[in-house]
Symmetry: C2
Subunit: 695 residues, 2 copies
Amino acid sequence: MNFFFRPKGIALIGASATPFKGGNSILKNLITGFDCGIYPVNPKYETIEDVRCYPTVADVPDPVDLAIVFVPAPHVPAIVRACADRGIKGVMIESGGFSETGEGGAALQRELLEIRKETGIRLWGPNCMGLVDAVKRYVFSFVSPMIWQEGLTPGDVSLVVQSGMLSGAFLMDLMTHGVMGISKVCSIGNKMDVDECDLLEYLVDDPDTGAIGLYLEAIPDGRRFTEICRRSKKPVVLLKGGRSEVGAKAAMSHTASLSGNGAVIRGALAQSGVTEANDFKQMMDISRALAAFPDTAPKRDARVAVLTYTGGAGIVSVDFMDGLGLAPALLSEESRAKLKTVFPEWMPISNPVDLWPAVERNGAEKTYGVALDAVCSDPGVDAVLIHAFAGGFALKPDLAGMAETAKGAGKPVFIWLLGTIDAAKEFHQEAQELGMVVYREVYRAVECMGALFNRPLPAASEIPSARAVSLDEAQEKILSESAGALDEHFSKKLLSAAGIFVVEERIVKTPEAAEKAASEFGLPVVMKGLLPGEVHKTEKNLVRLDIRSFEDVRQIFDELTREMDSRGEILIQPYVKGDLELIAGLVNDPQFGTCVMCGFGGILAEVIADVAFAMAPLSHEEALALIRRLKAQKLLDGFRGAPAVDREALAQTLVQLGDLGATNEKIEQVDINPLIIRDGSPIAVDASVILGEKP
Amino acid sequence: MNFFFRPKGIALIGASATPFKGGNSILKNLITGFDCGIYPVNPKYETIEDVRCYPTVADVPDPVDLAIVFVPAPHVPAIVRACADRGIKGVMIESGGFSETGEGGAALQRELLEIRKETGIRLWGPNCMGLVDAVKRYVFSFVSPMIWQEGLTPGDVSLVVQSGMLSGAFLMDLMTHGVMGISKVCSIGNKMDVDECDLLEYLVDDPDTGAIGLYLEAIPDGRRFTEICRRSKKPVVLLKGGRSEVGAKAAMSHTASLSGNGAVIRGALAQSGVTEANDFKQMMDISRALAAFPDTAPKRDARVAVLTYTGGAGIVSVDFMDGLGLAPALLSEESRAKLKTVFPEWMPISNPVDLWPAVERNGAEKTYGVALDAVCSDPGVDAVLIHAFAGGFALKPDLAGMAETAKGAGKPVFIWLLGTIDAAKEFHQEAQELGMVVYREVYRAVECMGALFNRPLPAASEIPSARAVSLDEAQEKILSESAGALDEHFSKKLLSAAGIFVVEERIVKTPEAAEKAASEFGLPVVMKGLLPGEVHKTEKNLVRLDIRSFEDVRQIFDELTREMDSRGEILIQPYVKGDLELIAGLVNDPQFGTCVMCGFGGILAEVIADVAFAMAPLSHEEALALIRRLKAQKLLDGFRGAPAVDREALAQTLVQLGDLGATNEKIEQVDINPLIIRDGSPIAVDASVILGEKP
């Protein structure tokens, strides 16, 4: 991919001499920043913008390995072929008019893909804004050359944005406000060849990139994407468009993206160490926080010291912490003693630390300096949130000194800044260059700090391997010959073969056999009628719970037989009353493949819809992490006097489910509902396995 | 309060000739903007800043009705007395050094309060930044005179900010960024006399104020505050500091504010039509949305059309809607036909409406104009979210024309804006003057639109009156003579007297009586041991559920008798198995008085902690609104095949609870747990009433 990011020479096909036209803007941008050969191609001109122009791409001299194309769509296939013939390695197609414009455009795009396959040439786009590299000052894009006057603020966050216009607009906004440092912005448009995976793979090894932010509407190759994220030593932050149901519909009509199941995506991303964002600037804000403090280890409820000049904002900061996985720090005696050296006598010392009375006595430089030193050397403080005001009230601290203190202590410092417009911008830039991160709203500052400490880390950079589940001959036969829903009894045999603990049960043929089973299991029991292919037993009135007498057992046997017109089989089990009802299962996601699911069942399922997913196979660690992602966590830890759920055993069950799915392609779906927790351990009480069509 | 807001003359005590001192800044600010008499008081000078100076306040000429005081705290009481003697009606004390600085300062503050009582003079502050009025250009504050150069952008949002420094810093930030229009900013500091209620009362009638935003750490007189909010025809938006438990602790150490119970405050505010904010700029952002569209009626799931130049942002906008009480509009055939006149053939029309291909063909002015006209005349559209870019891409729409279209249709238009720094500021100001609201982040735009359509409206501007509950003699006697927890049986008698439906039950003295009761009620039954003053029956093992035989009834009678050492009484009831477990009750809140509570009980209580409060007494409408505030709503509407909860009956129960509490001061607390829903109707199955100490 180096020919896209560091080409040795660029042919610009569709170069134009008309100001404000895209083909002119691209040329001007190249002239301003690109440091190797620039070869405009246009048969109508000798020169454009004083640069020699070539009639065709074949005439362009060496070295040239990249072409940027900005001509009407119908001309593009011939041009790409000419580029391949000329030995050019990559083409950035910035023109629109392809699959986003209906069938005619889609045909052109298919034609391009043919040429790609035939010649091996790599294609970026079409329908995109190309690439901007603020560090190298390469602008391979038709964004307005005005960008150069307003300032390309270099930084270490690289962005990949699917939507073309959005990447341009977002870039112009970020760049001209001068406070968000950018490394590369890649706009990939229709991503017919070069896609988010290719770019991500490049960026995770790019020395100019500290963190990667992405806006994507679909992640068609979810497995490859997440594998790259797992291996990345750099933080990856993703804003996924179409996470809600209505948003997903909108995404489909937008770029025919498949948006997918939000909960599956969330799980797969967390499993792979990706932080999810929910808005554009917020994605940038989180990315720069993660880029700024790469050595900060994740920590649940990290303890934060707040240094403020206004108690009110201190309180509001603390109000946000709990919901964002942070906690206010309890200051040590030593910290308090240090703060007392600048605080007036009457002023109680607590966290948030209200510095204002001390600032009035000692000035801002001394007060902020002493306070930051106190909290940075306090072992009970993991991070510091400083409230600052620029442009008055004699509140200017010594930023350089503060940065030194923070770096010495290895503690991340976040700043919430208010201020008059120019002073605030200057302060922002200075603080940022010194390695602190600055935000203009309290919530955003605390949110980004929360994202830093609560970012997911992959359990390992390698994908775990699945342990094959050994099935007996009968099971193998059914798996290979059947399709659709398997009955509960057989489904549980498969689970059992995978090592999952299932309820004891028996198929009974007569009322007497039922009674015998009940007496062996002990009352109360459960009886179910199993009809071939029927997964909605309860709705069909084929489930009888809590049967308390042998008389009832016999009578219910007859009832169920009648209900099923003697077609099905009757299953009898002990009635398992547990402390908690969970659900677990497998789904086959079009983007992320076979995924394991676990969540709360029963009434809770309807109220809190608390389920978590991860891609199969799972390591034991990953299974534990999946469980930790359940929001109603605390129910697992000994709820209302019940014993705590044995997380190791539950994780084991999920690993086994994952192995079953990962090693048996035929299995499309598994639902264990309920997975009852009894004496802390999970036991599958009802289950159904659904197979794909016969091969 | 007019003498604070529109004084006829101002004495400035503590006027200083030294630049940058507060007493000098106040004077400069007065000179720049105040249009009546300005009388600096300082015995050391003849004139300051060319204004004649007076040795004492007694020497100041008429008319003068306001004094601004900025001298060290110990001098303040004598000065206030002199002001009262001079006939001055109000004093704005901006100096610090009072109750916020410990006991010495608190004594000074008490002294001031004495003078206030004695003389009737009104006191604003101390420890505050005073008042800024950007419309009248009155700056009665020591904020830097720089504020005048940077621009006081007048607008119609007035702010009341408890914290002094915060109001100053926030004001400087808002003002100098030039895009947030402000009417008045009131900083009330220690609010020893003039408090948020006084200011709110003034502002709701202030013709220059369209919406009121407040930052408060405590609302000591919650009843008065909410009564004013109820009557207000203007939107009130409140950011309450100390809403979380840790935040509340921080608030207490900050200004000794009592932060209170977050859920009670939330309920009381919603009941009174107050919108809650959670951050400073967000409070301002919500306020300006509510001020801009005062005629927009609240509507659940209001239907939004999104006009965008970038499909990606359209998708993200839609992703936010569901969580914020909005929904994407389905465009009518007519709208689609209008859009087709500018859309290319191949472009499908959906909402979000991606305008980019049409802009490329027709230009931004025409395209945005046609599109806005289409959606504004669509009866299926309640509001429009426009995505705009300023400063390039030929995306400038005709703002004036758009504003006219929107106004003609009476539909609120929100704009999400990206752009180069100067162009975006200009666009922002222009759009705002035209009556549209502009935001720089997608989420904030959708959030503010959600706040507009989902703002709470009080059921009526008047407080409902309580219906007295008629108790019999025995009940009256116990109410007046007892204290602490009443037993379950008697508690339910009180509830029953209030009209609340309680489970049938009987106190039984012998096993035989128990058996007789059980046979009358029908098995299964519940038996409980009632010990005087004991409210934790379950923990004491005094509750037996689901008793299924008469033998068990007799045996359990003996067991409970033994458990209680024959001290208590034994209660027997039918075993009520309902469809849903709720809880309801009364609490006595120090800020908001007697409040009714309702929420989900059982396992749900521990997972979702979903309870809502409202101040008693409640009207029927208010009780219904309380129920609608429960997050897990949908459980009430026929869950898992159960009949829907009869909301009228449930509301009735809550009204009756409120009446009971509002007309019996002695009742401190009521807990109905569970309030079982059986066949849709609520029935109190266990309850305890707790009385205050004997008078």
